[in-house]
Protein backbone atom coordinates (compact mmCIF):
# COMPACT_ATOMS: atom_id res chain seq x y z
CA UNK A 1 0.00 0.00 0.00
CA UNK A 2 2.86 2.28 0.69
CA UNK A 3 4.41 4.03 -2.20
CA UNK A 4 8.17 4.31 -1.69
CA UNK A 5 8.19 7.47 -3.77
CA UNK A 6 6.01 9.31 -1.32
CA UNK A 7 7.07 7.54 1.83
CA UNK A 8 8.51 10.28 3.90
CA UNK A 9 10.46 8.06 6.23
CA UNK A 10 12.39 6.52 3.37
CA UNK A 11 12.72 9.66 1.34
CA UNK A 12 16.14 10.49 0.03
CA UNK A 13 17.58 13.57 1.62
CA UNK A 14 16.89 16.77 -0.16
CA UNK A 15 19.72 17.22 -2.61
CA UNK A 16 19.22 20.92 -3.00
CA UNK A 17 21.22 21.49 0.12
CA UNK A 18 18.53 23.35 1.96
CA UNK A 19 16.99 20.62 4.07
CA UNK A 20 18.26 19.65 7.48
CA UNK A 21 18.20 16.06 6.31
CA UNK A 22 21.50 16.80 4.60
CA UNK A 23 23.34 16.89 7.86
CA UNK A 24 22.23 13.45 8.86
CA UNK A 25 22.87 11.67 5.61
CA UNK A 26 25.90 9.49 6.13
CA UNK A 27 26.07 7.99 2.65
CA UNK A 28 26.88 11.03 0.59
CA UNK A 29 29.72 13.34 1.33
CA UNK A 30 28.49 16.33 3.20
CA UNK A 31 29.65 19.59 1.75
CA UNK A 32 27.68 21.89 3.93
CA UNK A 33 30.13 22.93 6.60
CA UNK A 34 31.83 20.01 8.23
CA UNK A 35 35.55 19.96 8.54
CA UNK A 36 37.83 17.98 10.81
CA UNK A 37 37.37 20.14 13.88
CA UNK A 38 33.62 20.53 13.65
CA UNK A 39 30.98 18.27 15.00
CA UNK A 40 27.26 18.26 14.47
CA UNK A 41 25.24 17.22 17.46
CA UNK A 42 21.56 16.54 17.35
CA UNK A 43 19.77 17.66 20.49
CA UNK A 44 16.18 16.53 20.75
CA UNK A 45 13.42 16.22 19.76
CA UNK A 46 13.19 13.73 22.61
CA UNK A 47 15.40 15.52 25.07
CA UNK A 48 14.25 16.36 28.58
CA UNK A 49 15.63 19.88 28.62
CA UNK A 50 14.09 21.02 25.37
CA UNK A 51 10.74 21.36 27.13
CA UNK A 52 8.82 19.38 24.61
CA UNK A 53 9.68 18.33 21.13
CA UNK A 54 12.22 20.88 20.01
CA UNK A 55 15.13 19.68 17.96
CA UNK A 56 18.26 21.78 17.95
CA UNK A 57 21.04 20.91 15.55
CA UNK A 58 24.22 22.14 17.15
CA UNK A 59 27.37 22.80 15.22
CA UNK A 60 30.21 22.40 17.67
CA UNK A 61 33.90 22.94 17.94
CA UNK A 62 34.78 20.74 20.85
CA UNK A 63 32.25 21.89 23.36
CA UNK A 64 31.90 25.36 21.95
CA UNK A 65 28.76 26.16 20.00
CA UNK A 66 29.44 27.62 16.56
CA UNK A 67 25.86 27.75 15.41
CA UNK A 68 22.45 26.23 15.86
CA UNK A 69 19.47 25.39 13.80
CA UNK A 70 16.08 24.79 15.33
CA UNK A 71 13.81 22.20 13.79
CA UNK A 72 10.27 22.76 14.97
CA UNK A 73 6.80 21.68 13.99
CA UNK A 74 6.60 18.31 15.73
CA UNK A 75 3.58 19.54 17.63
CA UNK A 76 1.93 21.34 14.75
CA UNK A 77 -1.81 20.81 14.88
CA UNK A 78 -2.94 23.39 12.37
CA UNK A 79 -4.76 25.55 14.88
CA UNK A 80 -5.16 28.39 12.40
CA UNK A 81 -6.75 26.07 9.84
CA UNK A 82 -9.06 24.62 12.48
CA UNK A 83 -10.19 28.16 13.32
CA UNK A 84 -11.43 28.70 9.79
CA UNK A 85 -13.72 25.71 10.15
CA UNK A 86 -15.20 26.58 13.54
CA UNK A 87 -17.47 29.31 14.78
CA UNK A 88 -15.97 32.07 16.89
CA UNK A 89 -17.23 30.55 20.12
CA UNK A 90 -16.21 27.03 19.17
CA UNK A 91 -12.65 28.00 18.51
CA UNK A 92 -12.28 29.46 21.99
CA UNK A 93 -11.27 26.22 23.76
CA UNK A 94 -8.70 25.42 21.08
CA UNK A 95 -6.53 28.39 21.96
CA UNK A 96 -5.98 26.94 25.44
CA UNK A 97 -4.04 24.12 23.82
CA UNK A 98 -1.36 26.37 22.42
CA UNK A 99 0.43 27.64 25.49
CA UNK A 100 -0.92 24.97 27.77
CA UNK A 101 0.86 26.16 30.89
CA UNK A 102 -0.78 29.57 30.52
CA UNK A 103 -4.10 28.62 29.02
CA UNK A 104 -6.00 31.45 30.70
CA UNK A 105 -3.87 34.09 28.99
CA UNK A 106 -4.45 32.53 25.60
CA UNK A 107 -8.18 32.59 26.15
CA UNK A 108 -8.04 36.20 27.29
CA UNK A 109 -6.22 37.28 24.13
CA UNK A 110 -8.67 35.52 21.87
CA UNK A 111 -11.74 36.85 23.67
CA UNK A 112 -10.28 40.36 23.59
CA UNK A 113 -9.71 40.12 19.86
CA UNK A 114 -13.20 38.90 19.04
CA UNK A 115 -14.69 41.50 21.36
CA UNK A 116 -12.77 44.15 19.47
CA UNK A 117 -14.17 42.77 16.25
CA UNK A 118 -17.66 42.93 17.74
CA UNK A 119 -16.88 46.41 19.01
CA UNK A 120 -17.86 45.49 22.54
CA UNK A 121 -16.21 45.16 25.91
CA UNK A 122 -16.55 42.89 28.89
CA UNK A 123 -18.38 44.45 31.87
CA UNK A 124 -16.20 45.69 34.75
CA UNK A 125 -16.78 42.73 37.02
CA UNK A 126 -15.81 40.31 34.27
CA UNK A 127 -12.70 42.37 33.58
CA UNK A 128 -11.63 42.12 37.20
CA UNK A 129 -12.24 38.38 37.29
CA UNK A 130 -10.23 38.09 34.11
CA UNK A 131 -7.37 40.05 35.59
CA UNK A 132 -7.32 37.93 38.74
CA UNK A 133 -7.28 34.65 36.86
CA UNK A 134 -4.79 35.84 34.28
CA UNK A 135 -2.37 37.00 36.93
CA UNK A 136 -2.76 33.74 38.82
CA UNK A 137 -2.01 32.06 35.55
CA UNK A 138 1.06 34.21 35.08
CA UNK A 139 2.36 33.02 38.44
CA UNK A 140 1.59 29.40 37.55
CA UNK A 141 3.38 29.76 34.23
CA UNK A 142 6.42 31.31 35.86
CA UNK A 143 6.43 28.56 38.45
CA UNK A 144 6.57 25.91 35.76
CA UNK A 145 9.32 27.89 34.11
CA UNK A 146 11.32 28.24 37.33
CA UNK A 147 10.94 24.60 38.31
CA UNK A 148 11.98 23.19 34.96
CA UNK A 149 14.65 25.78 34.32
CA UNK A 150 16.28 25.08 37.68
CA UNK A 151 15.96 21.36 37.07
CA UNK A 152 17.74 21.71 33.73
CA UNK A 153 20.60 23.46 35.42
CA UNK A 154 20.80 20.86 38.13
CA UNK A 155 18.77 22.16 41.06
CA UNK A 156 16.09 19.62 41.82
CA UNK A 157 14.35 21.16 44.83
CA UNK A 158 12.78 24.24 43.15
CA UNK A 159 10.80 21.93 40.89
CA UNK A 160 9.05 20.33 43.85
CA UNK A 161 8.52 23.64 45.61
CA UNK A 162 7.09 25.28 42.50
CA UNK A 163 4.76 22.46 41.59
CA UNK A 164 3.59 22.18 45.18
CA UNK A 165 2.64 25.85 45.28
CA UNK A 166 1.25 25.89 41.76
CA UNK A 167 -1.23 23.30 42.92
CA UNK A 168 -3.00 25.99 44.95
CA UNK A 169 -3.55 28.07 41.82
CA UNK A 170 -4.82 25.08 39.90
CA UNK A 171 -7.24 24.39 42.73
CA UNK A 172 -8.64 27.89 42.37
CA UNK A 173 -9.03 27.34 38.62
CA UNK A 174 -10.70 24.02 39.23
CA UNK A 175 -13.13 25.48 41.72
CA UNK A 176 -13.87 28.37 39.39
CA UNK A 177 -14.42 26.56 36.12
CA UNK A 178 -13.92 22.86 36.68
CA UNK A 179 -10.67 22.53 34.78
CA UNK A 180 -7.12 22.82 35.99
CA UNK A 181 -5.01 23.33 32.92
CA UNK A 182 -6.93 23.94 29.74
CA UNK A 183 -9.46 26.02 31.54
CA UNK A 184 -11.58 27.73 28.90
CA UNK A 185 -12.32 30.18 31.70
CA UNK A 186 -13.53 33.12 29.64
CA UNK A 187 -16.13 33.54 26.97
CA UNK A 188 -16.42 36.12 24.25
CA UNK A 189 -18.10 39.07 25.93
CA UNK A 190 -17.09 38.33 29.50
CA UNK A 191 -17.10 35.33 31.79
CA UNK A 192 -19.59 32.51 31.91
CA UNK A 193 -19.12 31.61 35.55
CA UNK A 194 -19.78 33.80 38.52
CA UNK A 195 -17.11 33.51 41.18
CA UNK A 196 -17.72 30.71 43.64
CA UNK A 197 -18.31 31.30 47.34
CA UNK A 198 -14.98 32.02 48.95
CA UNK A 199 -13.20 32.88 45.70
CA UNK A 200 -11.88 36.17 47.07
CA UNK A 201 -10.71 34.54 50.28
CA UNK A 202 -8.99 31.75 48.34
CA UNK A 203 -7.15 34.29 46.20
CA UNK A 204 -6.06 36.39 49.16
CA UNK A 205 -5.07 33.29 51.10
CA UNK A 206 -2.94 32.22 48.18
CA UNK A 207 -1.33 35.66 47.98
CA UNK A 208 -0.49 35.64 51.67
CA UNK A 209 0.91 32.14 51.53
CA UNK A 210 2.77 32.60 48.28
CA UNK A 211 5.03 35.53 49.10
CA UNK A 212 7.00 33.63 51.77
CA UNK A 213 7.23 30.71 49.35
CA UNK A 214 8.68 33.03 46.75
CA UNK A 215 11.33 34.05 49.28
CA UNK A 216 12.02 30.35 49.73
CA UNK A 217 12.68 29.95 46.01
CA UNK A 218 14.98 32.91 46.15
CA UNK A 219 16.78 31.48 49.15
CA UNK A 220 17.48 28.38 47.14
CA UNK A 221 18.74 30.13 44.06
CA UNK A 222 19.43 33.86 44.09
CA UNK A 223 22.69 33.69 45.98
CA UNK A 224 23.41 30.05 45.28
CA UNK A 225 26.94 29.98 43.96
CA UNK A 226 26.32 27.24 41.42
CA UNK A 227 23.17 28.94 40.15
CA UNK A 228 24.93 32.26 39.78
CA UNK A 229 27.87 30.71 37.97
CA UNK A 230 25.59 28.85 35.61
CA UNK A 231 23.39 31.83 34.77
CA UNK A 232 25.36 35.07 35.11
CA UNK A 233 26.67 36.28 31.78
CA UNK A 234 25.08 33.37 29.94
CA UNK A 235 22.95 34.02 26.88
CA UNK A 236 23.30 37.77 26.83
CA UNK A 237 20.84 39.58 24.60
CA UNK A 238 21.29 43.30 24.05
CA UNK A 239 18.20 45.49 23.90
CA UNK A 240 18.75 46.39 20.24
CA UNK A 241 19.02 42.69 19.37
CA UNK A 242 15.83 41.99 21.27
CA UNK A 243 13.96 44.60 19.29
CA UNK A 244 15.43 43.54 15.96
CA UNK A 245 14.52 39.92 16.68
CA UNK A 246 11.06 40.83 17.92
CA UNK A 247 11.71 39.32 21.33
CA UNK A 248 9.13 40.35 23.93
CA UNK A 249 8.11 39.58 27.47
CA UNK A 250 10.48 39.01 30.38
CA UNK A 251 13.36 38.38 27.98
CA UNK A 252 13.01 41.89 26.56
CA UNK A 253 12.57 43.44 29.99
CA UNK A 254 15.62 41.66 31.35
CA UNK A 255 17.61 43.46 28.67
CA UNK A 256 16.56 46.75 30.17
CA UNK A 257 13.65 47.74 27.95
CA UNK A 258 10.79 48.80 30.18
CA UNK A 259 8.01 47.60 27.96
CA UNK A 260 4.91 45.82 29.07
CA UNK A 261 1.64 45.89 27.15
CA UNK A 262 -0.29 46.00 30.40
CA UNK A 263 1.15 49.47 30.93
CA UNK A 264 1.78 50.65 27.39
CA UNK A 265 -1.53 49.73 25.84
CA UNK A 266 -3.67 48.71 28.81
CA UNK A 267 -6.41 46.22 28.15
CA UNK A 268 -9.09 44.96 30.51
CA UNK A 269 -8.84 46.78 33.83
CA UNK A 270 -5.05 46.94 34.01
CA UNK A 271 -4.95 50.72 33.91
CA UNK A 272 -6.64 50.79 37.31
CA UNK A 273 -3.95 48.84 39.14
CA UNK A 274 -0.74 49.99 40.60
CA UNK A 275 2.21 47.79 39.73
CA UNK A 276 5.79 48.03 38.60
CA UNK A 277 7.49 46.66 35.54
CA UNK A 278 10.69 44.97 36.66
CA UNK A 279 13.63 45.29 34.31
CA UNK A 280 17.12 43.85 34.23
CA UNK A 281 20.46 45.38 33.42
CA UNK A 282 22.60 42.85 31.63
CA UNK A 283 20.12 40.80 29.64
CA UNK A 284 21.63 37.54 30.80
CA UNK A 285 20.01 34.41 32.15
CA UNK A 286 20.37 35.56 35.72
CA UNK A 287 18.58 38.84 35.04
CA UNK A 288 15.77 37.04 33.31
CA UNK A 289 15.44 34.91 36.42
CA UNK A 290 15.25 37.99 38.64
CA UNK A 291 12.76 39.70 36.36
CA UNK A 292 10.40 36.74 36.38
CA UNK A 293 10.65 36.36 40.16
CA UNK A 294 9.79 40.03 40.55
CA UNK A 295 6.95 39.67 38.06
CA UNK A 296 5.41 37.08 40.33
CA UNK A 297 5.53 39.58 43.20
CA UNK A 298 3.87 42.21 41.03
CA UNK A 299 1.24 39.71 39.96
CA UNK A 300 0.42 39.16 43.63
CA UNK A 301 0.06 42.92 44.02
CA UNK A 302 -2.35 43.08 41.11
CA UNK A 303 -4.39 40.14 42.37
CA UNK A 304 -4.77 41.76 45.79
CA UNK A 305 -5.91 45.06 44.30
CA UNK A 306 -8.30 43.33 41.95
CA UNK A 307 -9.83 41.17 44.66
CA UNK A 308 -10.28 44.14 46.95
CA UNK A 309 -11.80 46.28 44.22
CA UNK A 310 -13.90 43.55 42.66
CA UNK A 311 -17.05 45.40 41.52
CA UNK A 312 -20.51 43.94 41.43
CA UNK A 313 -22.64 43.74 38.35
CA UNK A 314 -23.11 41.59 35.30
CA UNK A 315 -20.31 39.35 34.06
CA UNK A 316 -21.43 39.08 30.46
CA UNK A 317 -21.75 41.87 27.92
CA UNK A 318 -24.80 42.05 25.75
CA UNK A 319 -23.63 40.20 22.70
CA UNK A 320 -25.73 38.38 20.12
CA UNK A 321 -26.33 34.70 20.70
CA UNK A 322 -25.02 33.83 17.27
CA UNK A 323 -21.77 35.66 16.81
CA UNK A 324 -21.49 37.23 13.42
CA UNK A 325 -18.92 40.00 13.60
CA UNK A 326 -19.03 42.66 10.90
CA UNK A 327 -16.60 42.50 8.00
CA UNK A 328 -13.22 43.74 9.09
CA UNK A 329 -9.89 42.79 10.52
CA UNK A 330 -8.29 43.51 13.86
CA UNK A 331 -5.03 42.79 15.60
CA UNK A 332 -5.21 42.62 19.37
CA UNK A 333 -2.38 41.61 21.61
CA UNK A 334 -1.91 41.05 25.32
CA UNK A 335 1.03 40.60 27.60
CA UNK A 336 1.08 36.85 28.08
CA UNK A 337 3.56 35.36 30.59
CA UNK A 338 5.94 34.71 27.70
CA UNK A 339 5.59 37.93 25.78
CA UNK A 340 3.30 39.61 23.31
CA UNK A 341 0.53 37.25 22.35
CA UNK A 342 -1.40 38.64 19.42
CA UNK A 343 -4.44 37.58 17.47
CA UNK A 344 -5.02 38.87 13.97
CA UNK A 345 -8.58 38.01 13.02
CA UNK A 346 -10.21 38.63 9.67
CA UNK A 347 -13.99 38.47 9.56
CA UNK A 348 -15.98 38.15 6.37
CA UNK A 349 -19.23 38.68 8.21
CA UNK A 350 -20.06 35.00 8.46
CA UNK A 351 -20.28 32.70 11.45
CA UNK A 352 -16.72 31.49 11.10
CA UNK A 353 -13.57 33.57 11.16
CA UNK A 354 -12.11 33.97 7.71
CA UNK A 355 -8.61 33.87 9.09
CA UNK A 356 -7.15 33.71 12.56
CA UNK A 357 -3.48 34.35 12.92
CA UNK A 358 -1.85 33.80 16.25
CA UNK A 359 1.30 35.75 16.96
CA UNK A 360 2.96 33.42 19.43
CA UNK A 361 5.59 34.87 21.76
CA UNK A 362 7.43 31.55 22.14
CA UNK A 363 7.87 31.13 18.40
CA UNK A 364 9.38 34.55 17.92
CA UNK A 365 11.49 34.39 21.08
CA UNK A 366 12.92 31.02 20.11
CA UNK A 367 14.43 32.64 17.06
CA UNK A 368 16.85 34.45 19.36
CA UNK A 369 18.34 31.16 20.53
CA UNK A 370 20.99 31.11 17.83
CA UNK A 371 22.12 34.62 18.68
CA UNK A 372 22.26 33.82 22.38
CA UNK A 373 24.20 30.58 22.37
CA UNK A 374 26.94 31.27 19.84
CA UNK A 375 30.28 30.91 21.55
CA UNK A 376 28.86 29.26 24.65
CA UNK A 377 29.15 25.67 25.80
CA UNK A 378 26.67 22.89 25.18
CA UNK A 379 25.56 22.95 28.81
CA UNK A 380 24.69 26.63 28.40
CA UNK A 381 22.36 25.82 25.52
CA UNK A 382 20.24 23.97 28.05
CA UNK A 383 20.24 27.00 30.32
CA UNK A 384 19.33 29.34 27.47
CA UNK A 385 16.47 27.19 26.19
CA UNK A 386 15.16 27.19 29.74
CA UNK A 387 15.49 30.91 30.19
CA UNK A 388 13.63 31.66 26.96
CA UNK A 389 10.61 29.97 28.54
CA UNK A 390 9.22 28.42 25.40
CA UNK A 391 6.27 26.11 25.21
CA UNK A 392 6.39 23.96 22.14
CA UNK A 393 2.64 23.77 21.90
CA UNK A 394 2.71 27.46 21.18
CA UNK A 395 5.78 27.42 18.96
CA UNK A 396 4.24 24.83 16.69
CA UNK A 397 0.56 25.59 17.15
Amino acid sequence: MKDPETDYRHAKPDQSGSGVMDYLDLDTKDQTFLDATELVLNMGPQHPSTHGVLRVILKLDGEKVLGTECVIGYLHRGVEKIAENRTYAMFNPYVDRMDYVAAVSNGLGYCEAVEKLLNTEAPPRAQYIRVILTELCRIASHQVWLGTHALDIGALTPLFYCFRDREEILKIFEKYCGARLTTHAFRIGGCIYETYDGFEQDCLKFCDAFLPKLDEYEELLTTNRIWVRRTKGVGILKPEDCIALGVTGPVLRASGVKWDLRKKQPYEAYSKFDFEIPTGLNGDTYDRYLVRIEEMRQAVRIIRQAVEGLPTGPIMAKIPKVLKPPVGEVYVSIEAPKGELGYFIVSDGSLQPYRVRVRPPSFVNLQALDKMVRGLLVADVVAVIGTLDIVLGEVDR
Binding site: M1, K2, T6, Y8, S18, G19, M21, I72, G73, H76, G78, E80, K81, N85, R86, T87, A89, M90, P93, K116, L117, L118, N119, T120, H184, R187, I192, I243, A244, L245, G246, V257, K264, Q265, M316, K318, I319, P320, K321, V322, L323, K324, P326, V327, G328, Y331, S333, F344, V346, D348, G349, S350, L351, Q352, R355, R357, R359, F363, V364, Q367
Partner: protein, 246 residues
Protein backbone atom coordinates in the same frame (compact mmCIF):
# COMPACT_ATOMS: atom_id res chain seq x y z
CA UNK B 1 -9.21 3.93 4.10
CA UNK B 2 -9.87 7.61 4.08
CA UNK B 3 -13.22 8.68 5.22
CA UNK B 4 -14.49 10.59 2.22
CA UNK B 5 -17.53 12.01 3.90
CA UNK B 6 -17.49 15.64 4.81
CA UNK B 7 -16.68 16.33 8.38
CA UNK B 8 -19.71 16.89 10.57
CA UNK B 9 -20.82 20.46 10.37
CA UNK B 10 -18.51 22.16 12.81
CA UNK B 11 -20.64 25.17 13.36
CA UNK B 12 -23.67 23.50 14.83
CA UNK B 13 -24.36 25.71 17.80
CA UNK B 14 -25.95 22.85 19.74
CA UNK B 15 -22.51 21.39 20.38
CA UNK B 16 -21.00 24.75 20.90
CA UNK B 17 -19.49 25.61 24.25
CA UNK B 18 -21.25 28.92 24.02
CA UNK B 19 -23.06 29.57 27.24
CA UNK B 20 -26.21 30.69 25.58
CA UNK B 21 -27.97 27.72 24.10
CA UNK B 22 -29.85 28.88 21.01
CA UNK B 23 -33.44 27.84 20.66
CA UNK B 24 -34.30 25.14 18.16
CA UNK B 25 -35.43 27.22 15.18
CA UNK B 26 -32.46 29.47 15.58
CA UNK B 27 -29.95 26.66 15.61
CA UNK B 28 -31.48 25.14 12.49
CA UNK B 29 -31.15 28.47 10.76
CA UNK B 30 -27.63 28.99 11.91
CA UNK B 31 -26.40 25.62 10.78
CA UNK B 32 -27.99 26.22 7.40
CA UNK B 33 -26.06 29.43 7.05
CA UNK B 34 -22.86 27.74 8.01
CA UNK B 35 -23.20 25.05 5.42
CA UNK B 36 -23.41 27.66 2.76
CA UNK B 37 -20.35 29.36 4.16
CA UNK B 38 -18.30 26.26 4.71
CA UNK B 39 -17.98 25.57 1.00
CA UNK B 40 -14.90 27.73 0.75
CA UNK B 41 -16.52 30.69 -0.88
CA UNK B 42 -14.77 33.43 0.95
CA UNK B 43 -15.42 36.36 -1.33
CA UNK B 44 -19.16 35.98 -1.50
CA UNK B 45 -20.16 34.83 1.96
CA UNK B 46 -20.04 38.44 2.95
CA UNK B 47 -23.09 39.11 0.88
CA UNK B 48 -24.47 35.60 1.07
CA UNK B 49 -24.37 35.59 4.83
CA UNK B 50 -25.95 38.99 5.08
CA UNK B 51 -29.14 37.82 3.40
CA UNK B 52 -29.97 34.94 5.74
CA UNK B 53 -29.00 37.08 8.65
CA UNK B 54 -31.87 39.42 8.04
CA UNK B 55 -34.22 36.49 7.63
CA UNK B 56 -32.83 35.10 10.83
CA UNK B 57 -34.08 37.88 12.99
CA UNK B 58 -37.85 37.54 12.81
CA UNK B 59 -37.57 33.82 13.49
CA UNK B 60 -35.54 34.46 16.56
CA UNK B 61 -37.88 37.20 17.62
CA UNK B 62 -40.80 34.88 17.39
CA UNK B 63 -39.04 32.13 19.27
CA UNK B 64 -37.57 34.14 22.08
CA UNK B 65 -38.49 37.61 23.11
CA UNK B 66 -35.23 38.14 24.98
CA UNK B 67 -32.96 37.61 21.99
CA UNK B 68 -33.96 40.54 19.76
CA UNK B 69 -33.22 43.02 22.49
CA UNK B 70 -29.57 42.13 22.26
CA UNK B 71 -29.51 41.45 18.57
CA UNK B 72 -30.36 44.68 16.80
CA UNK B 73 -27.96 46.64 18.94
CA UNK B 74 -24.64 45.82 17.22
CA UNK B 75 -26.15 45.66 13.72
CA UNK B 76 -26.59 49.31 12.86
CA UNK B 77 -23.30 50.43 14.35
CA UNK B 78 -21.16 48.09 12.26
CA UNK B 79 -17.89 50.00 12.22
CA UNK B 80 -16.56 51.06 8.86
CA UNK B 81 -12.99 51.84 7.93
CA UNK B 82 -12.43 55.55 8.17
CA UNK B 83 -9.83 57.48 6.23
CA UNK B 84 -6.65 57.93 8.17
CA UNK B 85 -5.11 61.31 7.74
CA UNK B 86 -1.83 62.18 9.35
CA UNK B 87 1.48 63.75 8.54
CA UNK B 88 2.94 60.34 7.80
CA UNK B 89 0.21 59.46 5.31
CA UNK B 90 0.45 62.83 3.56
CA UNK B 91 4.20 62.46 3.29
CA UNK B 92 3.97 58.98 1.86
CA UNK B 93 1.16 59.93 -0.50
CA UNK B 94 3.13 62.90 -1.70
CA UNK B 95 6.07 60.71 -2.54
CA UNK B 96 4.45 57.54 -3.84
CA UNK B 97 1.13 58.88 -5.13
CA UNK B 98 -1.15 56.05 -6.15
CA UNK B 99 1.31 53.51 -4.77
CA UNK B 100 -0.44 54.12 -1.47
CA UNK B 101 -3.77 52.55 -2.28
CA UNK B 102 -5.51 53.13 0.99
CA UNK B 103 -4.86 54.67 4.38
CA UNK B 104 -7.57 53.91 6.88
CA UNK B 105 -8.37 53.17 10.45
CA UNK B 106 -10.72 50.43 11.54
CA UNK B 107 -11.93 50.41 15.15
CA UNK B 108 -9.00 52.65 15.93
CA UNK B 109 -6.39 50.47 14.25
CA UNK B 110 -4.40 52.07 11.47
CA UNK B 111 -3.43 50.36 8.28
CA UNK B 112 -1.96 51.20 4.92
CA UNK B 113 -2.54 49.30 1.73
CA UNK B 114 0.40 49.76 -0.57
CA UNK B 115 1.43 48.49 -3.96
CA UNK B 116 3.56 45.35 -3.85
CA UNK B 117 6.31 47.00 -5.89
CA UNK B 118 7.04 49.60 -3.22
CA UNK B 119 6.28 47.65 -0.06
CA UNK B 120 9.93 46.97 0.72
CA UNK B 121 10.77 50.64 0.34
CA UNK B 122 7.87 51.60 2.58
CA UNK B 123 8.91 49.11 5.24
CA UNK B 124 12.44 50.45 5.19
CA UNK B 125 11.13 53.98 5.52
CA UNK B 126 8.84 53.00 8.34
CA UNK B 127 11.79 51.62 10.26
CA UNK B 128 14.31 54.34 9.55
CA UNK B 129 12.30 57.54 9.29
CA UNK B 130 9.17 56.74 11.23
CA UNK B 131 10.88 54.67 13.95
CA UNK B 132 8.72 51.59 13.66
CA UNK B 133 11.55 49.48 14.96
CA UNK B 134 9.68 46.35 15.96
CA UNK B 135 8.14 44.02 13.42
CA UNK B 136 5.43 42.29 15.39
CA UNK B 137 4.21 39.87 12.82
CA UNK B 138 4.13 38.99 9.16
CA UNK B 139 1.23 36.99 7.90
CA UNK B 140 -0.99 36.50 4.89
CA UNK B 141 -4.63 36.00 4.00
CA UNK B 142 -5.82 34.10 0.97
CA UNK B 143 -8.71 35.31 -1.18
CA UNK B 144 -8.91 32.81 -4.05
CA UNK B 145 -11.66 34.71 -5.87
CA UNK B 146 -9.59 37.84 -6.32
CA UNK B 147 -7.10 38.42 -9.05
CA UNK B 148 -4.57 39.55 -6.46
CA UNK B 149 -5.03 36.45 -4.39
CA UNK B 150 -2.99 37.18 -1.31
CA UNK B 151 -2.94 39.88 1.30
CA UNK B 152 0.45 40.02 2.97
CA UNK B 153 0.21 41.87 6.25
CA UNK B 154 3.10 43.40 8.17
CA UNK B 155 2.22 44.44 11.70
CA UNK B 156 4.64 47.07 12.97
CA UNK B 157 5.08 48.72 16.30
CA UNK B 158 7.08 51.73 17.34
CA UNK B 159 8.71 51.71 20.76
CA UNK B 160 9.24 55.45 20.47
CA UNK B 161 5.66 56.38 19.69
CA UNK B 162 3.87 53.44 21.32
CA UNK B 163 1.93 53.04 18.11
CA UNK B 164 0.93 50.18 15.90
CA UNK B 165 0.37 50.21 12.19
CA UNK B 166 -0.34 47.52 9.65
CA UNK B 167 1.14 47.59 6.19
CA UNK B 168 -0.83 45.51 3.78
CA UNK B 169 0.01 44.59 0.23
CA UNK B 170 -1.77 42.47 -2.31
CA UNK B 171 0.01 40.06 -4.59
CA UNK B 172 -1.07 37.58 -7.20
CA UNK B 173 -0.34 33.86 -7.20
CA UNK B 174 3.30 33.16 -7.95
CA UNK B 175 4.43 36.73 -7.33
CA UNK B 176 7.55 37.11 -5.21
CA UNK B 177 8.02 39.70 -2.52
CA UNK B 178 11.34 40.99 -1.35
CA UNK B 179 12.19 39.61 2.06
CA UNK B 180 12.07 41.94 5.04
CA UNK B 181 14.88 39.97 6.67
CA UNK B 182 17.36 42.73 5.93
CA UNK B 183 15.12 45.21 7.75
CA UNK B 184 14.11 43.09 10.73
CA UNK B 185 15.89 39.78 11.39
CA UNK B 186 12.71 38.55 13.04
CA UNK B 187 11.21 38.29 9.55
CA UNK B 188 13.28 35.15 9.00
CA UNK B 189 10.95 32.67 10.67
CA UNK B 190 7.83 34.71 10.13
CA UNK B 191 8.36 34.68 6.38
CA UNK B 192 9.25 31.02 6.44
CA UNK B 193 5.92 30.36 8.07
CA UNK B 194 4.10 32.41 5.44
CA UNK B 195 5.93 30.42 2.77
CA UNK B 196 5.08 27.17 4.50
CA UNK B 197 1.41 27.94 4.97
CA UNK B 198 0.64 29.96 1.82
CA UNK B 199 3.39 29.22 -0.68
CA UNK B 200 4.33 32.86 -1.04
CA UNK B 201 8.03 33.11 -1.77
CA UNK B 202 10.32 35.86 -0.66
CA UNK B 203 13.41 36.80 -2.60
CA UNK B 204 16.69 37.46 -0.79
CA UNK B 205 15.54 35.39 2.16
CA UNK B 206 18.53 33.60 3.69
CA UNK B 207 16.90 30.23 4.19
CA UNK B 208 13.45 29.96 2.69
CA UNK B 209 12.10 26.50 3.46
CA UNK B 210 9.27 24.93 5.35
CA UNK B 211 9.30 25.55 9.06
CA UNK B 212 6.35 23.86 10.74
CA UNK B 213 5.53 21.17 8.23
CA UNK B 214 7.87 18.37 7.15
CA UNK B 215 9.94 18.92 4.03
CA UNK B 216 7.99 16.31 2.11
CA UNK B 217 4.64 18.03 2.57
CA UNK B 218 2.46 18.73 -0.43
CA UNK B 219 0.54 21.97 -0.71
CA UNK B 220 0.11 24.93 1.57
CA UNK B 221 -2.54 24.34 4.21
CA UNK B 222 -3.76 27.84 4.93
CA UNK B 223 -4.79 28.41 1.33
CA UNK B 224 -8.53 28.34 1.05
CA UNK B 225 -8.47 25.68 -1.65
CA UNK B 226 -6.68 23.24 0.65
CA UNK B 227 -9.31 20.89 2.04
CA UNK B 228 -9.11 20.09 5.70
CA UNK B 229 -9.00 16.33 5.08
CA UNK B 230 -6.06 16.49 2.70
CA UNK B 231 -3.57 16.03 5.48
CA UNK B 232 -5.22 12.78 6.41
CA UNK B 233 -5.23 11.46 2.86
CA UNK B 234 -1.94 12.77 1.60
CA UNK B 235 0.29 12.42 4.58
CA UNK B 236 -0.95 10.66 7.68
CA UNK B 237 -2.12 7.50 5.98
CA UNK B 238 0.77 7.20 3.58
CA UNK B 239 3.56 8.02 5.97
CA UNK B 240 2.33 6.86 9.30
CA UNK B 241 0.12 4.05 8.06
CA UNK B 242 -2.64 4.85 10.50
CA UNK B 243 -6.24 5.85 10.17
CA UNK B 244 -6.67 9.12 11.93
CA UNK B 245 -10.39 8.63 12.21
CA UNK B 246 -11.25 12.03 10.84
Amino acid sequence: MPDETREPNPALPAGSPDPTKPSAPESAKASGVTKADATNKPAEPVKAAAAPATGDKPAAAAAKPAAPAAKPAPKPEGPKPEPWDSELVRKLKGQYGSGIREASTYVGQKYLVVDSSIVHEILLRMRDDELFDYCVDITAVHYPKRELQFDVVYILYSFHKNERVRIKTQIREGETLRSAFAIWPTANWLEREVYDMFGISFSEHPDLKRILLPDGWKGHPLRKDYPILQQDREWVQINLGIESGQ
